[in-house]
């Protein structure tokens, strides 16, 4: 009985401090210092929410750059990966559809990230290389000159880090928004 009473007291006090107090401190800090990030890094256009810069969205039209395949069909309220083994023939079949959609050939192979589904199904980035792979399609659909788009890509691409040099990445949603602004 005395153990139960003491335990109950600890439930109340840990709940007050670690749930109410801790959450309030972090919430207050985030909402005051980085309010836009705290609300999900939402991106607006003409005052309407068009997505989050951290979350991939579905692009299938030729005038837009396409993100990585998503096993969750870009559902940002129920995300997930394919959870298929890399040896699974299901992945081979899925990759075939990506190859057909992007017209890849042995001479012009598809960058792997455009065939491999991301972990969350919401990976907002592709590499600069995978963007450039798509520029021809986008340029044709928009009737824009290739160099103009390539310049835009170069401007948008960023190194994820300074020290451990890796591929330069591009945020697909931001690139597509910038593209819509380009005449």
């Amino acid at each position: 009985m005395k153990l139960l009473i003491t335990s109950l007291r600890l439930v109340v006090i840990t709940m007050l401090v670690c749930v109410a107090g801790y959450t309030a401190i972090i919430l207050g800090f985030a909402q005051m210092v980085v309010p836009a990030r705290a609300d999900g890094s939402l991106v607006t256009k003409d005052g309407k929410i068009v997505g989050s810069r951290l979350i991939a969205q579905k692009f299938t039209q030729p005038q837009y750059f396409w993100p990585r395949p998503s096993a969750a069909d870009y559902n940002a309220a129920g995300a997930g990966g394919s959870n298929k083994s890399p040896t699974s023939s299901d992945l081979t079949d899925r990759a075939q559809t990506n190859i057909v959609a992007s017209g890849a050939t042995a001479e012009n192979p598809l960058p792997a990230e455009l065939a491999a589904a991301s972990g969350s199904g919401l990976d907002p980035h592709i590499t600069e290389h995978a963007v450039l792979y798509q520029t021809e399609r986008v340029a044709k659909a928009r009737g824009l000159a290739l160099p103009k788009i390539e310049a835009l890509v170069k401007q948008q691409a960023f190194a994820t880090d300074g020290v451990f040099v890796s591929d330069r990445l591009v945020n697909v949603l931001e690139l597509n928004m910038a593209l819509d602004e380009t005449k």
């Binding site: 005395k2 153990l3 335990s7 109950l8 600890l10 439930v11 840990t14 401090v17 670690c18 749930v19 801790y22 959450t23 401190i25 972090i26 919430l27 800090f29 985030a30 909402q31 210092v33 980085v34 990030r37 705290a38 999900g40 939402l42 068009v50 997505g51 969205q57 299938t60 940002a76 309220a77 995300a79 997930g80 394919s82 959870n83 298929k84 083994s85 890399p86 040896t87 699974s88 081979t92 990759a95 050939t105 042995a106 192979p109 598809l110 792997a112 990230e113 065939a115 491999a116 991301s118 972990g119 199904g121 990976d123 880090d161 020290v163 451990f164 040099v165 890796s166 928004m177 819509d180």
Partner: protein
Amino acid sequence: MNAILFISFIVGGTALLSWPLGRYMKWAMDPDKPNGFDRLFHRFGGRYSNEPQNWKQYCVAMLVFNVLMFVVSFGFMALQQHLFLNPDGKGAINLDCIFNTAASFTTNTNLQHYSGEVSMSYLSQLCALMWLQFVSAATGIAALTAMARGIAGRKDMGNFFIDLQRATFLVLLPVAVIVAVLFALGGIPMTLLGAAKATTLEGIEQIIARGPVAAFVAIKQLGTNGGGFFGPNCAHPFENPTFWTNIVASVSIILIPMGSVWMFGHIVKRLRHAAVVFAVMLVFLVAKIGGAVYFEAAPTQAFAGLPIEQTTGNLEGKELRFGTAAGPLWAVLTTSTSNGSVNSMHDSLNPMTGLMSMIGMWLNATFGGVGVGMINMFIYIVLAVFVAGMMVGRTPEYLNRRIEAREVKLAVIALFAHCFFVLAPTGLFAATDWGQKTLNNTGPHGFSEIVYEFSSANANNGSGFEGLGDNTIPWNVATGIVMMLARFIPIFLPLAIAGSLAAKKPTAESVGTLGTESVTFGVMLGGTLLFIGALTFFPLATLGPIAEHLMFMK
């Protein structure tokens, strides 16, 4: 080269940080004389928190508090549809899933048979799950503190209620505040608003789930909890938005497990011994990381022969922003500690990389969970000392106390339980529809899904080969039971051993004693881990990942 630099930076940097943390943890958990915090904690705990406890009383107090943890969190989840802080109107959850989740978070496992953003209200996320992430981690740290006191020869093992508050308020909370602030700055959402509704550039509606994520993710990493706010865990951009948040999270995963070893050394007053144990753990950790990075550099086998350009290893189930080495590194860190969060989908790891994750959970002591990793290692230490004693024909001793039949028996029972809870249910589920009907992959990889699930439940890890359709009554009940037995048996038995050691007269060290501060001891301990682990689990490894590797990888 970059991979080596990246890994040394994270593992080496954390090892350095763990040294001052260990000193601090000793000060916080086992102060030499009562301080102001103790008086405060006595006031919070009431008059019964003042009494010294022996190992049995300590275990009973822990059990009572943990039962209450289970009940309270169960209540919040079961009633969430009627309560507040539910902006997206989440409905009722199946009772078997609630049972599994309450067991999972109470035992510091965080195995998740639900998807956070789909099923849980913010109230459940905070008051049930995040609360348990604090107090279940604190339970582990308290248990290690008590065990170390016993090994140091103190019959009074402290008081669980005071230790729990020390671990929660002095160790976990301050570090969690720092990490949560870094996460919020890094772009992890922290809001009580419901999901955002967006209309994409192509005109489709996209519902974007969010919530008080930064606070949740900080303690989930630090307390080796690992349960995600979202289904894809730290692969989700809202749990892990950048290269840098990924580094902070990686460090957070191993920081307190590493610090626990130093705290143990300080309490038993044998820092050199702790350094040998630390070194053994580190060697195993680095070996697993090396294996994982090597095997994961192989491209996705399913794409072989297709017009696909593969230059950076297997990308299925990975996010690009973390860089190439971050996935396999995390896969090892999260399973070597009992964390279980993921930044790539483990089901889609190359077969042998998946094996490295399984090895982490099978050993569960390199570095293991907060507090409990060192407790698990103590079981191996007892056996190593015993075997070494047999080899030279002397009575085995550990830190000036004789290891006799009773201690060895208890250690073997703990080890047997560890093996049994993986092997027996894996056999059962692999042989019946309970397992076979829930697989997402065929052949040896399907078997690996079952092996992984029970290894994870047993190690109180919580990661999974998530393709497994595990939100079924057999899976929820079986893993729920495994998690609870595999949590408390390996805590209570070592505490019993420590209690029994504390009751013995100290012996003087002689030339026949195996010095616990020597390289020989380190080799003995490493060998014990390796042989016991390999003898027990090699058949599973062969039928699952090794078979898949040999059959499919070219």
